[in-house]
Symmetry: C2
Subunit: 441 residues, 2 copies
């Protein structure tokens, strides 16, 4: 099975756990079979690999998501990096050209596309496999096979697919935009399905569509001119114009976890992290990423979420209205998970910034220097090799390294390495960084 | 006016702002005339000095409160340090012996005693002055003059004073223990007053009482044997047995701010610190001591309080039931304000602890060493003098000092000094500290 996951943009609707550098699909709130917590991305990937161990997964996303993706699911999945956001049609076109020109996939191969962030049950993945099987049949007539979701209520939030009949596989008569509740009821009576953006086609079909709608030669050319490509959704560019579509029906659990209210409904226990909840709390969820405890008393229908970015306390139903308030918060990024490890701002003063840097074993920093700040590293955990102005030095716990401005430096972790970095200067900023080549041999 | 403030013990009812080292009277939540925030201690002291600029203030408290008191109100007030807690009678006796033997106050002098932590309006201080004037009259017959509080509701939380009549100054007929509501109503119909623990006497009266009830010679002797003194309240030891008491009436605002619900009622604005509150919040208070914002949406009657110790989110009425939950939290002290400055734990790892130490100008650390940990100091702000194994060294921003285990060290702030201290070792604990004498010339 060839599957393309659409990994959507960053957003603030799940602040303080999502922000400009962390998207909801990376938040670890789902219980994995081994008892640890996994993110929606990790669950999707794990479940796909379970139903189709030889699946070829490609994730289409923006550059800033490459690190968290690699960090969470490793290097086996392919990543098609969108140079900028151009909506779903260009993203899918780019991913398909990547499959054709980089992965050398035959044009007769079926490709399944689906978003990475719905919360679904196991049968969903069987449904994806089924889509792939349908389009994998050389005799299949439909250009696109959709998986529609059996509606559980007359939602105004989704587009609807009107199938010709109520069979397990049916021709599609029409697509409907998000309706009002009354109209939605009528659609449902006709046997309509939610359009969840899940579909399959033969690679060649989409390659042709791409060339039809965008002027480019191959993957590399499309990548280069991506910024000039028109923003357009797959639904608008392809689905609504295509006459030859059929649809399967999925009647299992499928939910969009886009607000705190819906996100916490996917939690198996009411708290994650250090939390104490009094018996007087009712329908309260706590997600705490800080080292200190959260104590909740006498609350009802409330979500509490704390991270190094801030603290949210919200009524569950009000949580969908938080964006304008979060937009008011202008703040440095205090915490980030990267493929090489993570960093966390632990102290901010007028002329200094102290961070804790964690480097995973085998990973290293870029070799770089700063013009406007001095740094002091104190290694507190692990072993590694530091390079200071070209000279290598083995370091371990207790090692202190002075890095005056101008000094070129890097560090490579032999084992998981933790360093307290004190940055000092009148004008400390992320942009103050000059990169150099360094051969680690 | 001689006034003794009783500065009560630490408590957890206002966690995370109060804990084993910080009591509620030190929490800065009241608006001072200059627009800054002040604590209850600071307000009491400021208001007393306003009505009686020559007041001689003594604060009776335990050793661990000396630093915050000095830090908040300076060195002009006397402090009578209780070697251990022995309830109010021994504390008042010790403070009075301090006034007699250390301050050489005449036995004919009036002394006013009151707790440091009620929330009161300005007229209260005129009331204290009035008590002092009554007992300052050599002809005054009553041994004790109380200030009773006009009840605003039939409270079950306070003891009641039954006066002979409803005059401004009246003899006391009887004291009543905390009653049930019905009984309280009857007391109030009789003109009863709340016993707020506010009273005055002539110093000699209390000195005699002390000698009568405790076997000791003078202040120094009492201090030495304080631990063996019986725990007993002033009400039980003195008030309930004394026949010759009168009482004044105070009918202004007087409130005990012992729970979050009552504490926040004294706040002029609904938020202190970084906070964003949506319009959908109703009767919500936020006190945030952290550097990151708190965002609240759709809440009603809730208090949110965040400090380096933890985060509390509580229904206002439930806040009085928090103690058993806070007792479950076993945690290192993450933040402390001292007379010399403050420290804040900023990172905790298995074998390291990073703290930010702030030293006020002119202050210094004890000269000390550690047996089980190495430390690294990075000075990030200010100028000072470090002493390492007896050798002095001037230090400023960017200076890094290695302190391997066994190394004797101290630092003195020339200007306000901030140091990032990384502690490293298998067994980092506060007790690992050997103190030495050092003559700073």
């Amino acid at each position: 099975m060839n599957i393309v996951f659409l990994s959507g943009g960053s957003g603030k609707r799940l602040w303080p756990l999502s922000n400009d550098v962390r998207s909801k699909q990376f938040i670890k709130i789902l219980k994995a079979p081994d008892g640890s917590y996994e993110s929606m991305l990790q669950r999707m990937y794990r479940e796909v690999m379970e139903v189709a161990p030889d699946a070829d997964v490609t994730i289409t996303t923006s550059a800033n998501q490459v690190s968290p993706i690699r960090n969470q699911i490793g290097v086996k999945a392919g990543i098609s990096v969108e140079p900028c956001r151009r909506d779903t049609f260009p993203a899918i076109a780019l991913a398909c050209m990547f499959l054709k020109d980089v992965r050398n996939l035959a044009e007769s191969e079926p490709v399944v596309v689906c978003p990475v962030d719905p919360f679904v049950e196991k049968e969903y993945f069987e449904g994806l496999k089924h889509l792939s099987e349908i389009q994998g049949n050389p005799k299949e007539k439909a250009n696109i096979t959709l998986m529609g979701i059996e509606p559980t209520y007359p939602s105004e939030k989704y587009g609807y697919i009107i199938p010709k009949d109520k069979e397990a596989l049916s021709e599609v008569t029409e697509f409907k935009e998000k309706p009002d509740e009354e109209t939605a009821k009528k659609y449902i009576e006709q046997g309509a399905l939610w359009n969840a953006g899940v579909f399959a086609f033969k690679l060649g079909y989409l390659v042709n569509k791409a060339h039809e709608l965008i002027d480019f030669k191959d993957y590399y050319d499309l990548l280069e001119k991506y910024e000039s490509v028109e923003k357009i959704s797959f639904d608008y560019a392809v689905l609504e114009k295509e006459k030859n579509i059929n649809v399967t029906r999925f009647n299992g659990e499928w939910r969009d976890l886009g607000t705190w209210n819906t996100l916490v409904s996917a939690m198996e226990e009411n708290t994650i992290g250090k939390a104490i909840m009094a018996d007087t709390c009712e329908n309260v969820h706590i997600l705490n990423e800080l080292d200190v405890p959260v104590l909740a008393l006498g609350l009802k229908d409330v979500v509490i979420s704390a991270s190094p970015e801030g603290i949210l306390v919200t009524d569950k139903h009000q949580s969908s209205y938080m964006k304008p308030y979060v937009d008011k918060i202008h703040q440095e990024i205090m915490f980030a998970e990267k493929s090489w490890g993570e960093y966390k701002v632990i102290d901010v003063e007028d002329n200094s910034l102290t961070i804790r840097v964690t480097l995973h074993a085998g990973h290293k920093m870029n070799y770089h220097s700063h013009e406007l700040r001095d740094e002091v590293w104190t290694v507190v955990e692990g072993e590694g090799i530091a390079v200071i102005n070209g000279r290598k030095r083995e370091v371990g716990p207790g090692e202190v390294i002075h890095l005056p401005r101008g000094c070129k430096h890097s560090i490579k972790a032999t084992t998981e390495l933790k360093v307290i970095e004190v940055q000092m200067g009148d004008n400390i900023k992320a942009e103050d960084k000059i990169r150099y080549e360094y051969k680690w041999e």
